[in-house]
Symmetry: C2
Subunit: 241 residues, 2 copies
DNA sequence: TGATTTCCACCTAGGTGATAATAT
DNA sequence: ATATTATCACCTAGGTGGAAATCA
């Protein structure tokens, strides 16, 4: 990420209001947005896989050193101004103010009290930022370099999350306005997208065995994946294309 | 590489005139260049290693599938306009019109006739192109994705070279002029750099054993490198930092 | 015979979940 | 008890030169 001074001051809400339907396109109020933003459309990649995880209750490992997400957050973008410059970012907002624990006997998540003090809120800039709309729309945009950590003092630019808390990934498209004083209407120059099926519980170790099995079956980096895919006693785990 | 239509038509010489000293900065005739180009300075990284290879007579493997260069061509750039947009590219020009063969008994290269028909001349765009000067100057620019092939019908965008021919890598900095009709003075909008110590012989298998040994000693991907670095009978091979 | 191709063992580099040890 | 940490074997992915086979 180069100097991003021209982005202005983005005002993003830091909580997910569940009383409103969490629609995939929060930027649909096109009349309030600049033309470089108003037409932007975003499609989640690997949606079937995300949904399969979501049905079981997605868990994402957080470690001190930082751990990648699986599935990886990937989107396909359309409707950008091909010659305009954009910055793409992600953040994670708490789904609620609760701390959870997993009840193995009932295989379900229970509320274990109020949320811990919020972890330092960070933005993850896609490393190709800034780039032109044509570049972003050319192919799938992948956040595979994004890593999750539970280290409050993390110095590697990873996303800091509280273990045993639920999070909603959020994706932002910011138009880099070359005009002077563009900060005066910065609110017109970005839009945000949330995909409910990408919500997850941050954990330091997997709790739900079925999540573990689906990770192994679908992540090529997880060990003995080839065997498990054809193992008869796990035949019920099917991995969507 | 995005659409590069604005680059105009570059006229680059396709031969290396050895009657002139092959200086590192061919773009020093600053009066004929635009301000975004005239100040550009380029420094070869790993120069000591390049020189060590050059003294032995550098060889680079070419394969049908494409092989990376070692050492990798890397440069540090200064003097760009931080906010101007540039494209960085490389090409390879024949050092002479000769075909060579290696005489093992004398451990030297002999002329084996006139050059074969020239391989299709290609440009390799640095994959980060186009980008602003600030981005390019921030850190070393590495062409580690560049691959060499001897396959005349290569379909992977690799650089096509004739085996047993000598080549001079060349590096180009192109200013992406946003002005209309910028093609009219495209010759002002780029500069080129050649580093004599990066010349090499394209081969399908190493000929000079000392080159093989230096590759093994200095390339972390070459096998048993750790052992060879400390092996007493190869103690004469020192790898510069 | 010299040059090229194919295949391979052996690396680097780094992403996995399992496990055992440790912390709270 | 429950949660976290460190370590590890085992993967993916891909860059090496060596050796044997093949080509011209």
């Amino acid at each position: 990420p180069a100097t991003l001074g021209r982005l202005g001051c983005l005002q993003l809400s830091q909580s997910c209001d569940l009383s409103l339907p969490c629609c995939a396109d929060e930027g649909s109020l096109s009349s309030t947005k600049c033309p470089q933003i108003s037409g932007v459309r975003v499609q989640l990649e690997m949606q079937a896989l995300w949904q399969q995880f979501d049905q079981l209750g997605t868990e994402m490992i957080v470690t001190k050193a930082g751990r990648r997400m699986f599935p990886t957050f990937q989107v396909r973008i359309s409707g950008m101004d091909p010659s305009a410059e954009y910055v793409l970012l992600m953040d994670f907002i708490p789904v609620d103010s609760k701390r959870y624990r997993y009840a193995f006997h009932s295989s379900s998540w229970l509320v274990a009290g109020r949320a811990d003090v919020a972890a330092p809120s960070r933005m993850h800039f896609h490393p190709d930022s800034p780039a032109r709309g044509a570049q972003w729309m050319k192919q799938t945009v992948s956040f595979d370099s994004l890593k999750l950590t539970n280290n409050l003092l993390d110095d590697n630019g990873h996303m800091i999350l509280n273990s045993m808390h639920r999070y909603q990934p959020r994706f932002h498209v910011v138009y880099v306005d070359p005009a002077p004083n563009s900060h005066l209407n910065a609110y017109k120059n970005f839009c945000s997208f949330s995909f409910p099926e990408t919500r997850f519980m941050a954990v330091t170790a997997y709790q739900n065995h079925r999540i573990t099995q689906l990770k192994i079956a679908s992540n090529p980096f997880a060990k003995v994946s080839h065997f498990l895919c054809t193992s008869p006693n796990l035949i019920n785990i099917s991995v969507p294309r």
